[in-house]
């Protein structure tokens, strides 16, 4: 398949495909002569994945690059999912030291109660969560942090559902890609459902 067809097939403009090639998001095509290349179905698939991650998942191209690198590096599925999570979480905002301390303690306790993994500091996922909890406290939303246990229970069930998607998969590539998509799209899908449900609940509670 040549450039024009790859572009048409994936719905990504030629100039943009070239840009992705330059940026290393898309592996170069197979050479047929010093300055000609052929692209395969895998390229179309990868372009679709990039589109899904950026447009639906809201990831930056830099984050997508990190995720794709993790995939191509053939890390274990578990490690690759870690990269995906960190990129989805993004850089954590800075909050006050007291806030961090308080939220970390709260979280440590929760993690311990639920038998989850003791997290190492510096993990973007944890840092984001800590920042969010600290901000909630700072804005006087104690209720949010008080209901944390119930949130955690529900989060566990959602996570099990996410991971159920990988159940039938056998090859490592399949497991990784399925897990990746389930995490990223699952996030958006759940967020959407949550809004719909909020709209429903809010009509009962707030409509006056």
């Amino acid at each position: 398949m040549r450039m024009a067809e790859l572009s048409a097939e994936s719905g990504v403009p030629v100039a943009t495909v070239k840009y992705y090639l330059r940026e290393g998001l898309l592996p170069p095509g197979e050479r047929t002569s010093p300055n000609q290349a052929r692209y395969a179905a895998a390229h179309v698939q990868r372009l679709r994945l990039i589109k899904a991650l950026t447009e639906v998942g809201g990831l930056s191209l830099a984050s997508v690059a990190a995720v794709l690198r993790a995939i191509d590096d053939r890390e274990t599925p578990h490690r690759t999912m870690g990269v995906v999570q960190r990129e989805l979480a993004g850089p954590a905002p800075k909050v006050s030291d007291e806030g961090v301390e308080w939220a970390t303690a709260l979280l440590d306790d929760l993690v311990h109660r639920h038998g989850w993994k003791r997290h190492e500091p510096g993990n973007a996922v944890v840092d984001n969560l800590v920042a969010a909890l600290a901000t909630a406290k700072e804005l006087g939303q104690e209720t949010l942090t008080e209901g944390l246990d119930e949130y955690a229970r529900l989060a566990k069930r959602v996570a099990e559902l996410d991971l159920a998607a990988v159940a039938g998969r056998t090859s490592v590539e399949e497991i990784i890609e399925t897990g990746l998509v389930a995490t990223v799209l699952g996030d958006r899908i759940f967020a959407g459902l949550r809004y719909l449900a909020q709209e429903r609940v809010s009509r009962e509670v707030l409509e006056s």
Copy 2:
């Protein structure tokens, strides 16, 4: 309170505060002379809110402006929450017409089964959800869309938890701000917990 103090109190640089004033994100201070102004505690509070919405919630300044406008317009809490949801969802990516059709049908069915509100088309929340579902299908992740009912049940319970935060509040302003913060921060907090849970579950399922 004067500019320097407002800046120090909120942790936002003077130049940035001026920028927010220009953009209408922050209401002008009370005039003491043709070119001097005083700021109140409400300004500090609003700056904190802007920081929470942008840094933790990940909203653009344009989205924050829309949310703040909804608050200042004294809409009903329910309507204001609608604005918040739409801004959190952001513009929906374009997907194929068949995808939209399929996902819309799937969603209509689900909404009907759960007795939720029949949504009007053009709603950013619904469009995003439809796009995410269609993308999942396009990438061959049928499992995600098959488990939708269970996701919906869990989403409902999370939504109830979100809205529980508003329970004790009486004044309209309090209800709106609480709901707003619960939605935006609740999103991030739940996402964080979900990642932690995924990490736990993924160790069991994927670690080999």
